[in-house]
């Protein structure tokens, strides 16, 4: 599965994207975040305030309880500040 990161989430994680094989038991975006936080300090820092980081699956905004099954690309980013 492809993960992509933007703005300060990207800076904290230290990469723009990565391909990861998820272990069993990761059903939702929230599960994925919990697992990522255990992978290293950079992830723990990026997701230290889980409530603020937003997610999108295949270019569509989703909530933490969204299922990740079948996702091709999951993105994490701060609240948007366009316009």
């Amino acid at each position: 599965m492809k993960l992509v990161y933007f703005a300060w989430v990207r800076e904290r994680v230290g990469r723009t994207d990565e391909d990861l094989d998820l272990p069993d038991g990761i059903a939702t975006v929230a599960d994925l975040v919990r697992w990522l936080k255990g992978r290293g300090e950079e992830y723990a820092y990026a997701f230290e305030n889980e409530a603020i980081v937003r997610a999108a699956i295949d270019h569509v905004h989703v909530k933490p309880d969204a299922p990740v099954l079948g996702a091709r690309e999951i993105a994490f980013f701060p609240p948007m500040t366009g316009g």
């Binding site: 992509v4 933007f6 703005a7 300060w8 999108a56 270019h59 569509v60 905004h61 993105a75 980013f77 701060p78 609240p79 948007m80 500040t81 366009g82 316009g83």
Partner: protein, 151 residues
């Protein structure tokens, strides 16, 4: 309905974009052009840098535009959002709405801007006059409240 959505590094010409909506037709009574500009925040900024999520940005603007078209009797709609480094005084975003009557055009333009601010995957960071890279601009709770008006 004429609907144009573009995400680009280059600037844009309001007059040309407005003409593209209205030329050759006589059923449009009202056109709103909203232009969002880069401020220097009291001389502090040398530029704003806009990062975006290619692919999702286009898809999200198309979704927002479709919602506006469903909600108001629009005869034309244009959204152009720039990315990259933008100097103070330069344009960041253009939203155009055209309708037979002004109320629909005004409401749709406000809706588009409120949703764009809170739903379109763009992030701004400051570049300071002293040459350093400043902070990422924080989302405003006022923008969330503005978007919730339409829910």
């Amino acid at each position: 309905m004429t609907s144009t959505i573009r995400i680009q590094a280059e600037g844009f010409e309001i007059a040309a974009e407005a003409a593209a909506l209205t030329t050759g037709r006589a059923d449009i009574g009202a056109v709103i052009a909203f232009t969002g500009l880069c401020r220097d925040e009291g001389g502090r900024l040398s530029a704003l840098e806009l990062e975006h999520y290619p692919g999702m940005a286009e898809a999200e603007l198309a979704r927002i535009a479709a919602q506006a078209e469903e909600r108001w009797p629009l005869m034309g709609l244009t959204i152009i959002h720039r990315f990259g480094k933008i100097a103070p005084g330069e344009e960041i975003v253009l939203v155009l709405t055209a309708s037979a009557h002004r109320r629909a055009a005004f409401e749709a333009a406000e809706f588009l801007m409120d949703y764009l601010k809170t739903h379109a995957p763009f992030w701004k960071r400051e570049h300071l006059k002293d040459g350093t890279v400043g902070a990422w601009v924080e989302a405003k709770s006022g923008d969330d409240l503005a978007a919730e008006r339409w829910a």
